[in-house]
């Protein structure tokens, strides 16, 4: 027998040495010991529980519970996995307790004497061997026995056992428990029930998180909610437990009844929230404004409602977990759509405020993530304030009485203007008639499910309807130039005559859906300089022209310098930013839309720019620039059309945008200088 085994016997007998234990013969070793009925119950002894309590204030069960508690604390927040581990630990602990009880029982005999001898030693050895063969968690006996050997690497579990061992020894000594340890027995104590609700549930990824453990014998399982850590922010609850605290109990209600109950609960909650925000509005004297926001919101197409609410979540300022599949670019695309919904003016207002404030605060440019968040917040702010600014509201979708229910050729619900309601497009800098039509149809969801070529077909067909109008008719609807390719900022164009004709739009979308793949391809890949390209571009046309010959190149340095300055100013006005009080200003020549080697307009052929039709809501969800960006391309196309209109200079087939702009300026300046036409324009 080694020292460890001796220590076990001392523990079991209250300090008696093996040599002092005598008499009791273990029947059939461990196998012959009658198993106690309860986890900590011992039988066949003459000592009452009260007597034991007086001698030993820490039972083995208590020790084990203490150890388990400590162990669980050290695991700290390992979440759901704690469940099975804890259950296993408890089972092992109870088993250990039973083994201890059996050992105690076998070492004690009716007269209160602890028996020992060879058979007792063999029994103890059997326990040790048995424990060594078992996987963790070990019994308390084993842990106590092996602790000294593993001093260098002992765990918190071992430390706790060691501490408890020492404390108990001190108590025994203080209480005068005899060396013999006679009469020691365990008091039956039921194991404490496991509080499942205290086990932390780890946050999940995006998607349904309502993880509900199976009900246990302890009764209903209660989950207080799940929590998700958003990078860089405090921990906030995720939105996946709309039920709030859940108590899973047996229910006889049908699924339909449960759904209805849930809906009613949510309705009540939303009503309460509405009441709360209206109370706040009343305090600051904006009850009427809040009502207007509500009225305007009711007119917003459904898909935009999803965009706004979804944008709040995806922006990271909400409370949801954002899955890896949802990228920054996707949110940026939402911003593009929201920009159109609220009106570019207000959107830019809010985005600029956020951008300038951020750069002023941090002294650095915005990261993509910050920019994305700003785009979404700007969308929210712009839509909200659109309701507060009557003039702006009337300029945008707020003026359109929208009703739902009409079915378009795509099968999706199309929200169409009510009969006589005016559909107006207010031209901003860089705007085009094509863009105005597209914006309107996008807002109504007409393009949902359409390929690029189908969308182009619809836009082109509708634009052709305007093209059939006479200059006088065009002026009557607000195109002051009388030319659909030349529209000016500030023009209030009434689109009702064409877009308000629901039969016409439904017929066109129906034809678009019926296009063959070959037809769609040919629309998406137009042959430049063909009439169809002109029709599809919505901007300037390209005329075949001979390259400028060397002998007519301008040589006047003053004209060249002036032309370059004109080009610079034009680009800056189109793509530059003034910033706020100069902060955040950027020269248009340095903008990515202009100078990017791949997509920047500077080195793109004019014909490519005019034929480009990037989507306002890209499928890939990424943010685009230059010729791949909807807004920038609209601006550039309008600019090129304006230059051609005002200078009469036509672009060469392969001429780049920057070269075309310079040549146009040189041509105009030279003609003004010499007061006669030049050959530069061809």
């Amino acid at each position: 027998m080694d020292k460890l085994e001796q220590k076990i016997l001392e523990s079991a007998s209250g300090g008696a040495s093996p040599s002092s234990i005598g008499g009791q013969i273990l029947e059939k070793g461990l196998g012959g010991i009658k198993r106690p009925e309860g986890p900590t119950t011992t039988e066949g002894t003459s000592v009452t529980p009260e007597e034991i309590r007086a001698k030993n204030d820490t039972t083995i069960v208590e020790v084990m519970q203490d150890v388990l508690k400590t162990e669980q604390q050290q695991r700290g927040g390992r979440g759901r996995q704690a469940g099975p581990e804890l259950g296993s630990a408890i089972q092992s602990a109870l088993q250990a307790t039973q083994e201890e009880a059996k050992l105690m029982e076998s070492l004690q005999n009716g007269g209160g004497f602890v028996r020992g001898g060879t058979e007792a030693e063999q029994a103890i050895e059997a326990i040790i061997n048995n424990n060594e063969q078992e996987a963790a968690p070990a019994t308390s006996t084993e842990i106590v026995a092996t602790a000294p050997k593993e001093q260098a690497s002992q765990s918190g579990y071992s430390n706790t056992m060691e501490r408890i061992w020492k404390e108990n020894e001190a108590k025994r000594a203080a209480m005068g428990v005899g060396e013999s340890g006679a009469g020691l027995e365990l008091e039956p104590i039921a194991p404490k029930p496991v509080q499942i609700e205290n086990i932390p549930i780890p946050a999940g990824e995006a998607g349904p998180h309502l993880a509900v453990p199976a009900a246990t014998e302890q009764g209903p399982v209660t989950i207080e909610g799940t929590f998700t850590k958003i990078a860089g922010t405090e921990i906030v609850p995720s939105l996946n437990t709309i039920d709030g605290p859940l108590t899973e109990t047996a229910s006889e209600k049908t699924p339909e009844q449960l759904k209805q109950e849930k809906l009613e609960k949510i309705r009540a909650k939303l009503e309460h929230m509405t009441g709360a925000v209206e109370a706040r509005a009343e305090k600051v004297g904006m009850t009427d404004r809040i009502r207007k926001i509500g009225e305007m919101w009711n007119k917003v197409p459904k898909r935009y409602k999803y965009m706004l609410a979804g944008g709040a979540l995806l922006s990271g300022v909400g409370a949801a977990a954002v899955g890896s599949a949802i990228g920054v670019g996707a949110v940026g695309a939402l911003g593009t759509a929201l920009r159109g919904l609220s009106g570019a003016g207000l959107f830019v207002t809010f985005e600029t405020i956020l951008k300038v404030a951020h750069e002023k605060k941090t002294g650095a440019e915005r990261s993509k993530a910050v920019e994305t968040r700003h785009v979404l917040l700007a969308g929210l702010g712009a839509v909200a304030f659109a309701a507060l600014l009557p003039k702006i509201m009337s300029d945008y979708m707020g003026s359109e009485a929208i009703q739902t229910g009409a079915q378009g050729a795509t099968g999706a619900a199309i929200e169409v203007p009510v009969g006589a309601s005016k559909i107006e497009y207010v031209v901003e800098k860089g705007g085009t008639l094509w863009g105005g039509i597209e914006h309107n149809l996008e807002a109504k969801g007409v393009f949902e499910g359409m390929q690029g070529g189908q969308k182009t077909y619809v836009l082109d067909a509708l634009k052709d309807k305007f093209a059939t109008m006479s200059p006088a008719e065009l002026r009557a609807i607000g195109i002051t130039s009388g030319n659909i390719n030349v529209i000016h900022p500030g023009d209030h164009i009434d689109l009702t005559k064409v877009l308000g004709d629901t039969h016409l739009t439904a017929d066109i979308t129906h034809h678009a859906q019926a296009l063959s793949p070959e037809q769609i391809y040919s629309i998406e890949h137009p042959v430049v300089a063909q009439p169809t390209a002109e029709a599809l571009s919505g901007a300037a046309s390209i005329h075949e022209a001979a390259p400028m010959s060397a002998e007519i190149l301008p040589t006047d340095p003053a004209i060249i310098t002036a032309a370059e300055e004109i080009t610079h100013n034009y680009v800056h006005e189109t793509f530059g930013t003034k910033g706020f009080l100069g902060i955040g200003a950027q020269d248009g020549m340095d903008s990515i839309d202009w100078k990017d080697p791949d997509v920047g307009f500077a080195n793109q052929p004019v014909e490519k720019v005019l034929a480009a039709h990037p989507g306002a809501f890209p499928d890939d969800g990424a943010r685009h620039f230059g010729v791949e960006d909807y807004t920038a391309t609209q601006k550039m196309q309008a600019g090129l059309a304006q230059v051609q209109q005002e200078t009469g200079v036509t672009p060469h087939p392969t001429e780049t945008v920057v070269d075309y702009l310079k040549r146009s300026a040189i041509t105009t300046l030279s003609e003004q200088a010499h007061n006669e036409p030049t050959t530069y324009r061809t």
């Binding site: 909650k269 939303l270 925000v277 609410a309 922006s315 909400g318 899955g323 809010f350 700003h374 507060l388």
Partner: protein, 104 residues
């Protein structure tokens, strides 16, 4: 991300996936309205009485530049303000035990 994916994501995150589509639309619509209103109210709460009167004037003109200057001057930390209000609203929707305005 297309519209359908956005819708699916939103519905899932709000925990209303099992409800009928009409009910989902109703909830999203109402929640969006509350978001808009609460964001607007929280901006107004930051304005002084004089600033609110000034805003009255601005609303009649609708000049974007002046509105921008006004908001930048009177609501310097708009981003944090809006973000916090959004978070409050969404958390209130989930929990219902600390609703917006309860502390107002």
């Amino acid at each position: 991300m297309n519209d359908q994916e956005l819708r699916t994501t939103l519905i899932t995150e709000l925990g209303i996936k099992e409800l009928p589509e009409e009910a989902q639309d109703e909830i999203v619509s109402k929640l969006g309205e509350i978001i808009l209103k609460s964001v607007t109210v929280t901006i107004f709460e930051k304005l002084s009485d004089d600033a609110r009167k000034e805003f009255e004037v601005l609303t009649t003109t609708g000049e974007a530049d002046r509105i921008r200057e006004f908001l930048a001057q009177n609501v310097p930390d708009m981003e944090a303000l809006m973000a916090e209000e959004l978070q409050k609203t969404l958390v209130a929707f989930r929990e219902g035990d600390q609703l917006i305005g309860d502390n107002a």
